[in-house]
């Protein structure tokens, strides 16, 4: 498909982010940018600090050092509610939906930050509160239509198969009408068909709504296919940042994925044995 989208200004800039849990250094001096309308893939082996990175972005973790610049405002850390209000939405690695509630209700919770009437108004369901509720419902229905989940609108989420739950979670993030969407392994545990569907939705979201997307994913084929740019983390450090093709041929990335003893300082040239080509 010929894409005529245009990647804009820097939306989010992370500078020298470091984060540790006790003695474990999760992230050390990581810097990268997310530009408007792009799809940024964040990859790396297990424990590389990918999820920690997302948690820093939406304020779930507070970094020990570093600066975060989002929409021109620089701060030391984010707060989750602030991030949500500022247009950052996310999905989780282990689905975090309200299992007993229906798909529709779950998606409606995504509108929470946009509801202006207080609890009492809403309980009375009169005048402005009612009008507002209808607007929110319409927004939710547009997302349901977009994600093609009409048939499960009234089904409790706990009864849905895994792939659909992931889609509902994406729906909830989308109803918040985010500027930046963070997806934590949106395709984990899915079969090929479900993965294809999810890829199409991610591309469509990016295309139709112009949403900027940062996603963590283990399936290399998927990441390389849909990302405009890829950031690679390993042991809490950024080892590469560039287009999928650049990253694919980057020696450090190949090392990280194929495994090289890590007590060798990064500057030391690797031993003479030639490296096998990585699997794309």
């Amino acid at each position: 498909m010929i894409s005529n989208k245009h990647i804009g200004e820097v939306l989010l800039k992370l500078e020298d982010i470091s984060l540790s849990f006790g003695g474990v250094q999760a992230l050390s001096n990581v810097s990268f940018e997310v530009r408007e309308h792009e799809i940024l893939g964040i990859i790396g082996p297990n424990g590389a600090g990918k999820s920690s990175m997302l948690n820093v972005i939406n304020g779930f973790y507070h970094p020990d050092e570093g600066r975060i610049t989002y929409k021109g405002t620089t701060r030391k850390d984010m707060r989750p509610h602030e991030a949500a209000r500022q247009g950052i939405a996310r999905t989780f690695q282990n689905i975090a939906l309200f299992k007993g509630m229906t798909t529709l209700d779950n998606i409606m919770t995504g509108r929470n930050t946009k509801m202006r009437r207080n609890f009492l108004w809403q309980a009375l369901y009169l005048g402005p509160a009612r009008k507002e509720e209808m607007e929110h419902r319409e927004a939710a229905e547009r997302i349901i239509d977009f994600l093609e989940i009409e048939a499960i609108r009234k089904t409790p989420v706990g009864r849905l198969p895994y792939g659909l739950q992931k889609r509902v979670e994406l729906g909830r993030a989308l109803t918040a009408e985010p500027d930046l969407l963070l997806l934590d392994e949106p395709m984990a545990g899915m079969n090929l068909e479900e993965k294809e569907d999810m890829c199409r939705f991610i591309l469509d979201v990016n295309d139709e709504f112009g949403t900027t997307i940062a996603l963590i994913e283990h399936d290399m084929g998927v990441v390389m296919d849909i990302s405009d740019r890829v950031v690679v983390l390993d042991y809490g450090r950024k080892i590469a940042d560039g287009s999928p093709d650049e990253v694919r041929t980057n020696q450090d990335v190949i090392d990280a994925y194929l495994g090289v003893p890590h007590d060798i300082p990064p500057d030391t040239p690797p031993d003479d044995t030639p490296h096998a080509n990585p699997q794309p």
Binding site: M1, I2, S3, N4, R137, E138, E141, R142, I144, D145, F146, E148, E150, A151, R153, K154, D204, D207, E208
Partner: protein, 684 residues
């Protein structure tokens, strides 16, 4: 039965006479076929003219509904006219001309229904295609019909058309409804539905008389639509129908069934199928009722419940699936509900159908049925969306009598219909109050039906199609010179004048001594038992009927568990004496049923055996659509057939089987042969 098209491919005329009633013609319901509604001067002989009339007569009544963003969005007849007008003008501006073909592809959507009528306004011919066909299948229809325009639902269909556009040189313009995912398509021949209508409105403003003048040019003999039969054998054939064909048939049936503008109907069957065109377009326009389009294919059951149609059609498979779902959920229900259901379903079985047909029922049963309505039948019908059904049809293939009786006993007026694309559906229909599970009713109004000397069902009606598009040989083979249409189905009229369809005419044979042998009819009777999965009947040019039976591993396995029978495989289970006893009962029951029909009493099953392996498409015994290949099986199991027609009470056999990975192996078995008593024929 052949509702989904296909035509008689049996040109040969058999000389044998099957039975006394041969040659008798039956006429449906005294009714003058008419081509127009009373009114004389302004003849409503085309769908566009009907639309103009409805937009005045029923202006603000609902015409079509679509569920979008979770809400039913209704368009009135007046709005529909506006939409169609804008669309027709847009298509004209784009270059659609009289006689052009316009392909319509997608799920049931108001926009697509409007496109069909808009094309007809201009004298162009809509050609709806099956939306789930792959590009290759679509290529044949688009190329053969020489469609110049296509109106499609979404990106998925656009992609298919782009794939085949090279091979369809005539295809010029493509209009799509849903713009999603279409952002990066820049081809100049792709048009958005909304843009086209906008263009049409401008054109209309400049040429205000154009639209009405074009409609006025249309007449009843114009081609209304070309419907391609699904073509299970060979290439699909394009059935050309005129407005007279469609509208006269639709009106006759609507009058017969007393359809009014108050009906509610759900349009969920493929748009390329003749039934959908008659129910959701023709009859909606002639009677003026509202049609609802479901939100998506997956939400049909839900939408059915929300709409609560009064007029409903479904193939037997759907009724079967609904019943299975109900039964499974009842199994899981609480003790009280389950017992209540069982008790009142027994009452319904006793009295329900009689109450529906207006026959006499004992007072106690009537009272119990009333209580049952409140406690069980009402809530159940409500859950299924059947509360308001006044008229439900099923057709396409035989329906099991248990399934059929279940719905009728709940008070749902389910009736069987026998029809063909070539007849604009209606050939025979069951009249209210005379519904039997094993017949397809009496000739529909305006239709004459007779049985040929060869036993083939033939009909003549105002709905008989014009011709197959660009296929005069097939037309000549299907239609006789004096206008009788061959169905390719064998059948006969029973004592009450109801048509009974028994098999494809070419499969019907004869048992030595003269009785007619209809293998599929017997096989279907056997297969209606849940314990029997497949059956193959033999008897043509033999002394009696014999059958191979495949048990249903699930159902018989479950039964075996409840009776504490241990088994390790299909083969072991199939050979059990207890299983033979179980199947024996089924066969006896089938024989009792056959004995009731004087024409078929002689084809009762005398000997049978339960096969040691399941018939499988991988072994070539079934087609991919799971139809038994009788000839192939007869050849492969000659030993078994010889045993069935010999004296042996068992037979050893060794068969090659193909496993799922493609490797082969052999299965050996020593099969018992069951002998069944024959029920006496009724005193004729």
């Amino acid at each position: 039965m052949q509702l989904f098209g296909g035509v008689n491919d049996n040109g040969r005329r058999q000389v044998r006479r099957f039975f006394g009633r041969t040659g008798l013609t039956r006429r449906g319901h005294e009714h003058q076929p008419r081509s127009t509604s009373p009114g004389g001067a302004s003849e409503l002989d085309t769908l566009p003219k009907l639309l103009l009339d409805n937009s005045k007569r029923l202006a603000d009544r609902p015409a079509i509904r679509e569920k979008d963003y979770g809400i039913w969005q209704t368009s009135t007849w007046r709005q529909v006219l506006d939409e169609v007008r804008a669309l027709a003008c847009g298509l004209a501006d784009l270059g659609l001309e009289r006689g052009d073909k316009l392909a319509v592809i997608g799920d049931n959507r108001p926009q697509l229904y409007w496109s069909m009528v808009a094309a007809q306004c201009l004298g162009a011919v809509p050609v709806p295609c099956y939306q789930d066909s792959v590009a290759k299948e679509m290529r044949f229809v688009i190329a053969h019909s020489e469609a110049r325009f296509a109106v499609v639902e979404d990106q998925e269909q656009v992609d298919k058309l782009l794939e085949i556009k090279e091979d369809c040189p005539k295809l010029r313009e493509i209009v799509y409804g849903d713009a999603r995912g279409m952002r990066n398509y820049t081809q100049p021949f792709l048009h958005r539905f909304a843009d086209l209508q906008e263009r049409g409105r401008r054109f209309d403003a400049e040429n205000p008389d154009f639209f009405l003048a074009e409609i006025a040019k249309g007449t009843g003999d114009d081609i209304a639509i070309i419907l391609y039969t699904s073509g299970t054998t060979g290439q699909p054939k394009g059935v050309v129908l005129s407005f007279d064909n469609v509208l006269v048939t639709a009106r006759n049936a609507a009058e017969y069934e007393r359809l009014t503008e108050n009906e509610e109907e759900l349009a969920y069957l493929p748009m390329a199928w003749v039934g959908d065109y008659v129910y959701s377009v023709a009859q909606s326009y002639t009677s003026g009722f509202c049609v609802s389009c479901p939100e998506s294919g997956a939400t049909v059951m839900n939408d059915l419940r929300e709409i609560g149609p009064t007029y409903f059609f479904a193939p037997p498979r759907i009724f079967e699936n609904i019943l299975t779902t109900v039964m499974i959920r009842i199994e899981d229900a609480s003790w009280l509900k389950r017992n209540m259901f069982e008790y009142f379903m027994a009452v319904a079985k006793r009295a329900g159908a009689d109450i529906l047909d207006g026959r006499r029922v004992p007072l106690l049963d009537r009272l119990l049925y009333g209580i049952g309505s409140v406690l069980v039948y009402g809530p159940l019908k409500n859950t299924l969306g059947f509360s308001r059904i006044r008229l439900a049809y099923t057709a396409g293939e035989a329906i099991g009598s248990d399934i059929f009786d279940f719905y009728r006993s709940l008070g749902i007026n389910l009736k069987q219909l026998y029809g063909q694309t070539e007849a604009v559906v209606y050939v025979t229909v069951q009249p209210d109050g005379e519904v039997k599970p094993d017949t397809v009713g009496v000739p529909a109004p305006g239709v004459e039906v007779r049985i040929s000397d060869a036993g083939e069902v033939m009909y003549k009606s105002p709905g008989v199609f014009q011709h197959y598009y660009k296929n005069p040989e097939a037309t000549a083979a299907a239609k006789t010179e004096d206008g009788w249409m061959r169905t390719g189905d064998a059948g006969f009229f029973d004592q009450d004048g109801h048509l009974k369809i028994i098999d494809r005419a070419k499969d019907v044979g004869r048992i030595n001594g003269g009785t007619m042998f209809a293998p599929k009819y017997i096989e279907n009777k056997l297969k209606f038992f849940p314990y029997i999965k497949e059956a193959v009947a033999f008897g043509d040019k033999r002394d009696y009927t014999a059958a191979f039976i495949n048990i249903d591993l699930g159902a018989v396995g479950n039964w075996a568990e409840r009776h504490h029978l241990a088994y390790a495989s299909y083969q072991e289970l199939a050979a059990k004496k207890e299983v033979y006893d179980l199947i024996h009962g089924c066969v006896e029951q089938v024989n009792r049923g056959l004995a009731k029909d004087p024409q078929l009493a002689g084809s009762q099953i005398k000997r049978y055996l339960i096969l040691h392996k399941e018939l499988d498409a991988d072994d070539g015994e079934l087609t991919r659509t799971r139809k038994v290949r009788r000839g192939f099986i007869a050849e492969k199991y000659t030993v078994l057939i010889d045993a069935l027609y010999g004296d042996a009470d068992h037979c050893e056999v060794e068969t090659q089987v193909t496993f799922e990975d493609g490797s082969t192996g052999t299965v050996k078995g020593d099969l018992k042969i069951g002998d069944v008593g024959v029920s006496p024929a009724p005193a004729a």
